[in-house]
Amino acid sequence: MTSTAGTAGSAAPVGDQADSGADLELTDVTKSFGDFVAVDNLSLTVPSGSFFALLGPSGCGKTTTLRMVAGLEQPTSGTIAIGGSDVTGTRAHQRPVNTVFQSYALFPHLSVGDNVAFGLRRSGKSEIARRVADGLDLVELGHLADRKPGQLSGGQQQRVALARALVNRPSVLLLDEPLGALDLKLRRQMQLELKRIQTEVGLTFIHVTHDQEEAMTMADTVAVMNRGRIEQMGTPAELYELPRTAFVANFLGQSNLVPGTVVDRVTKSGLLAVDVSGTRILVPEVRSVRSSGGVLVGVRPEKLRILVGDQEPTPAENVLGPGTVTDVSFMGVSTQYQVEVRGLGTFGVFAQNLLGGSTVATGAEVRLAWSVDFTFALDGADAPDEGTVDLDDEP
């Protein structure tokens, strides 16, 4: 399906057989720029027809990975295969892959219709006019085919860029932060739109983003990248409920992480007992990265329950405290508390407003309880704040 010849350009390698998408396989791919290793020995298989997200902070190597798949960069070592055939070393125009660029990169001198037809003309497809019309209809821009890109709004340009890539029915469609330039409302709308289109056309989508919410909303599988490596890969729910590194725990949502030491292993119930600053915390062994030594005990903020006064936890709950409520933010659907526990630091708690109004005031002495089943434990060598999203750092 892929040819290494065809320097003439007119002989594009994409055939109509690519209609259902194809597997993408990266094997031991490394990319260095001088001394800097952007992508470090990355191996990855994306099954055909899936919506796959590469999630990570800027500089984590996700865009470089995407560019290597597109053929815009060549890996320093390792191989890239699409639909089973090795495409390493071939150039961008020879690969059955299309990209929706972050900047859209629409051709300003061509009309919307000609932009969409560009790839079809190069690969010598038939019925170009009909395919262009179908492509524009898919993104609901059929009526703007004669406009120039400069006459469209950002959201419309984004959809033209999507149509321009989609009409070619590539084996793999690459999306490089395609919604980054849109405002929040439009972004939410386009997220749903993209998901709908992916389900409709059934192509393999690879979506690069630094926005964890975007990745979780759209993708079947998310790979969290950090420093050129994949930290963890799985469905959004798996990653959220059971992060395996401090980076994932903090980058995907928020986490309360406290250091502790495994003191006991209860084989019968499959639990680990962890000493956290004198308090005994239970963690299911399957939810712990290690079963001995130093660990980071973690729990998501919405899993925590605030115990006031003489309220008692259930036997299946871990308890920490007492602590002092230092901040209460009422957010409508929920209330966000900051609870300072002496010797352990500050815990974030999200409490749903099921009863209306906030019941716990700043300065109150409280304890924190949560179900043992929701507890997870990470390698104690991880930095507890790794991957914490710095708001000033967001592009």
Partner: protein
């Protein structure tokens, strides 16, 4: 108020009138020096030129004595006498423009695209393009006389390679004149194309590659059309002065088959003292250039890109 209305300001509210009146006065003050300059040094001389082109000799007067008239027959006469020279001027200018484009476009591309991001290299290359301007135009053209002279290294090498037949020469040929024109106007070709390519977003080229276009196809369908405004500007800045140039033809030509219209106008004005014919040829040249340029810009379809 009437002034503002005439300027299309359309300030309807009476309260705004004094302010916009003041602003329109500011317009005139700002435009003033340029307008005076243009009227005195362009509009008036062109008017004088048009008038002179219709003059007739004073009956029984000395050489160089003419009197006002409306003798339009000066035009057919001048054209009939000098049309080969006019045609040759346009031909030489066209050759020089094409040569400058062929040489200049790759230069501009290399500086704007290949050297992008390497500011120091880019700056140095641009200085090299502009460096010839630090020496006089005449000196540089005389230097070409040396370069193409019969005993020059270039000619010796061409003879040795058998690329130039025995006895043939480069100096005092149409080739030499076109070489001089190309060389002298090359920066005017390179700089506008560079300015155009400098603005080209290289991600467009990646998008082209991503959409199955080979480098050559990407150039043809993306880079070239996007650089057209620069190319049009560059070709005009080369072609227009090249048509009227007389220094290259005078210094590098041979006075027989290299004469350009600029030389004729110069000779008519200052040697033969035939002012009406010189003026007529100037007007014809101006009109022809305007016509060609208009057609060219229309055909290039660059109005909307500019």
């Amino acid at each position: 108020m009437s002034i503002t209305a005439a300027l299309g300001e359309g300030g309807a509210a009476t309260g705004a009138a004094p302010r916009s009146l003041k602003r329109s006065r500011a317009h005139w003050v700002l435009l003033g020096p340029g307008l005076i300059y243009l009227v005195l040094l362009f509009v008036v001389p062109v008017g004088a030129l048009l008038a002179t082109s219709l003059y007739v000799p004073v009956p029984g007067g000395d050489i160089g004595q003419y009197q006002p008239a409306l003798h339009w027959q000066n035009y057919p006469q001048a054209i009939a006498q000098f049309w080969p020279v006019i045609l040759r001027s346009f031909w030489f200018a066209l050759l020089a423009t094409v040569a400058a484009l062929v040489i200049g476009y790759p230069m501009a591309y290399a500086i704007a695209i290949r050297a992008r991001g390497r500011t120091l290299l880019q700056g140095m290359l641009l200085v090299l393009v502009v460096a010839p301007f630090f020496t006089s135009f005449i000196l540089r053209t005389i230097a070409w006389k040396q370069i193409l002279a019969d005993d020059s290294l270039v000619v010796a090498i061409l003879h040795w390679l058998n690329l130039l037949p025995e006895g043939a020469r480069l100096t005092a040929t149409p080739f030499a004149v076109v070489c001089g024109l190309t060389y002298n106007f090359l920066p005017f070709m390179v700089l506008p194309i560079f300015a155009g390519l400098e603005r080209l977003d290289v991600r467009m080229l990646e998008a082209g590659a991503d959409l199955y276009a080979s480098p050559v196809t990407t150039f043809r369908t993306v880079t070239w059309p996007l650089s057209l405004p620069g190319v049009v500007a560059g070709t005009l800045l080369t072609f227009i002065p090249a048509v009227g140039d007389y220094v290259n033809a005078a210094l590098l030509g041979n006075n027989t088959n290299t004469t350009m219209i600029g030389q004729v106008i110069d000779a008519r004005f200052f040697k033969v003292l035939d002012y009406p014919t010189a003026a007529t040829l100037s007007v014809v040249l101006m009109a022809a250039i305007m016509l060609i340029v208009t057609v060219y810009i229309r055909r290039a379809g660059t109005e909307e890109l500019l």
